[in-house]
Symmetry: C2
Subunit: 404 residues, 2 copies
């Protein structure tokens, strides 16, 4: 394969607008690699651990803080000249990276966050894993990392669960966190598309991030998370590190997360999507969230699921609206007593009630009419949990085969 | 030290605006760590290599592509509870990082780029190293990494050069590239300020990026590099990975770099600052570059030096202007024959003549009246080279002590 063709594998075609990364850009990304070896889960090489770790006790703080992982991990290496090497399922361990590796300098990195649930029926389930794997391809494309067939990534995730699920997630009602990640691993300081990438999947402990009394948000006054023409829609590292300073400021002031604004418009709550239920001036009940159109917010799987459930099951009482809205809209609704409830939605925080938003140094209370939650927040959360833990049989809950 | 005080070490104080990272935020960052061990170059532990590498031949392509490093590297580890451990000068080698390390997921990383020059007088020189070290502290603060005294980093850089300078950079007129880097190295997937960081300094080969015929730029139509309230001013990884897709598109279309615009305003050329010389409608000669005020462009050391030299030595012929200007301003000046020359300025590309800018699918020619360069481009480049290589004795050229 000619070098120029290989280069094209990680550059979008002419006519694709840089910011408007679309299905066709991703398609091109895959197409251009057609002469290279694809990611192929059927070639998985399994090396079982010879030094199994002990599973930390429930509530072990250090296991949460340091994100203790399970016995094994998936890795797969891609090279520009040849494509994907055979993926491996092997003992969990450190990565050895050249100090010149692209990921350490230029943030050539993207990831996914998924949970795996031990159901009421003892079965292990993923929640819409194909959606995470498809989004990972979009993120990889945006950050100049190589393409892959999303269903192959899903198979690799299932292979890890098949080996580590029984031992590491035995108890009904518990979950673990899966982190598929891709990094630019080639040595070389040139500011250029990485010549080598490493995909890995690890499974870790994560605390339940439920916060009693609801989340308190601080609306960002100056800091901006994402902008039109940027990369806010992609799950790339570059959206996270730069947010930590403002989050630290919010925490120092007694708030849990930043409510990110862009020109006054409400975008995301911390690393979650933001939803608000209000009555319009005409008295209609609406569940409102920011739209995906300008590509500044993440296309959350939880967000998407809530929208779909609300449309399917709540449309008699509640109109689902994806629209731009501002803090001034919220302030007006607060002043007119029209706010019903608000919540954040994402994999890590799940569906988290919001109790207050600080804007212009004033705390705006968000009602929690059910005591610890809003009514719709609670309903939507329960519906999702029922699917995740197998109380409701639903195509979003994908049962994982396990070694017995 | 109480955990709250430690947390404060990496969060800006109340009243400091998130976006407007100022000297006081950096001061606070240092101050809040006053109970912790500071970075201390005098504690450097030196472990000489026992397997010295051979120096690649001049022009060895692989040495450039993979950024071959010298025999040694500097490393220093910071921990939230205790501060900086003793820095090490030790054999160059891979880093061992947990797959959960913050830098691999959240782009908690920043760096500097500096060159070291073998002068006409056989002496080794750095160019304004104190400016790079001071900027590294600003970048670290912005990306929630720990503070340090910049002069200690400078001493560590000098220690590396003292050991590796003679062997790796023997020849008059050559240079090597230094890359001080800091990464969030603690295991832990929580989206939070890293509990551990690793500082390292490596020295690598870098090709001269001079391009015959001048650089051809493609003005970005949709992709936006940085935004007010973002982090464009900081040398953090998050500014680079997201730029690769647009750069790849530009290269596929036959251009060398993207000319980044923000609402039509000209900001940066690739990863360099952009300068243009034009005549005003009134006939005045101006050297124009974008201002630092809104914190979207990098405060380049080369940029700063060019501004100072132009003010000191060219003010009779040329007015130095830092102002917002747009592609429309450039198009108008082209149409009226008022463009004199344009160039990009930065450590990697140094002072690089620009021959064309594509805007709205039209190539705008930038004159190069000296054949391979504009007149002022050549003058400024020569002045800087004279300082870097010791033809002119100047405080910006810092002589490095070497082992004989």
């Amino acid at each position: 394969m000619a070098p120029s063709a290989i280069t094209a594998a990680t550059t979008p075609p002419h006519g694709i607008k840089t910011a408007a990364l679309t299905a066709s850009a991703v398609y091109h990304q895959i197409e251009a690699q057609s002469g290279l070896r694809p990611l192929d889960a059927s070639k998985l090489i399994f090396t079982p651990t010879t030094t199994p770790m002990s599973v930390p006790a429930k509530g072990d703080a250090e296991a949460y803080i340091s994100s203790q992982c399970s016995d094994h991990m998936i890795t797969a290496v891609w090279k520009r000249e040849t494509g994907w090497e055979s993926p491996e399922l092997k003992p969990y361990g450190n990565l050895s990276l050249a100090p010149t590796a692209s990921v350490l300098h230029y943030a050539t990195e993207c990831f996914e966050g998924m949970k795996v649930y031990r159901g009421y029926d003892k079965k292990l389930r993923l929640f819409r894993p194909e959606a995470n794997c498809a989004r990972m391809l979009i993120s990889a494309t945006r950050i100049a990392l190589p393409a892959f067939e999303p269903s192959e990534l899903e198979k690799l995730i299932l292979a890890l669960l098949e080996v580590d699920g029984v031992k590491w997630l035995p108890k009904t009602g518990d979950f673990l966190y899966l982190r598929p990640t891709m990094i630019g691993s080639a040595p070389g300081l040139g500011v250029a598309t990485p010549r080598e990438a490493t995909l890995f999947v690890i499974m870790t402990f994560m605390p339940s991030l439920n916060k009693e009394g609801g989340l308190r948000l601080l609306a960002s006054q100056n800091g901006v998370r994402a902008w039109p023409g940027g990369f806010g829609f992609a799950k790339v590292g570059a959206n996270y590190g730069p947010s930590l300073m403002a989050t630290g400021e919010a925490r120092a002031r007694g708030y849990d997360q930043v409510l990110w604004l862009l020109n006054g418009q409400v975008t995301e709550a911390g690393a979650s999507n933001f939803f608000i239920v209000w009555k319009t001036k005409a008295g209609n009940m609406q569940l409102v969230t920011a739209p995906l159109g300008n590509k500044i917010i993440l296309d959350g799987i939880t967000r998407r699921s809530i929208i779909q459930l609300a449309k399917e099951r709540l449309s008699d009482e509640l109109e689902l609206v994806e629209r731009d809205f501002t803090m001034d809209d919220i302030v007006e609704a607060v002043n007119e007593g029209r706010i019903v409830e608000a919540f954040a939605a994402g994999t890590a925080y799940f569906v988290a009630p919001i109790s207050a938003i600080n804007y212009n140094d004033q705390d705006l209370d968000m009602p929690m009419y059910e005591g610890d939650s809003g009514k719709y927040t609670a309903i939507l959360k329960t519906w999702l949990m029922n699917i995740m833990y197998g109380k409701e049989n639903h195509p979003w809950g994908v049962v994982v085969k396990e070694k017995q």
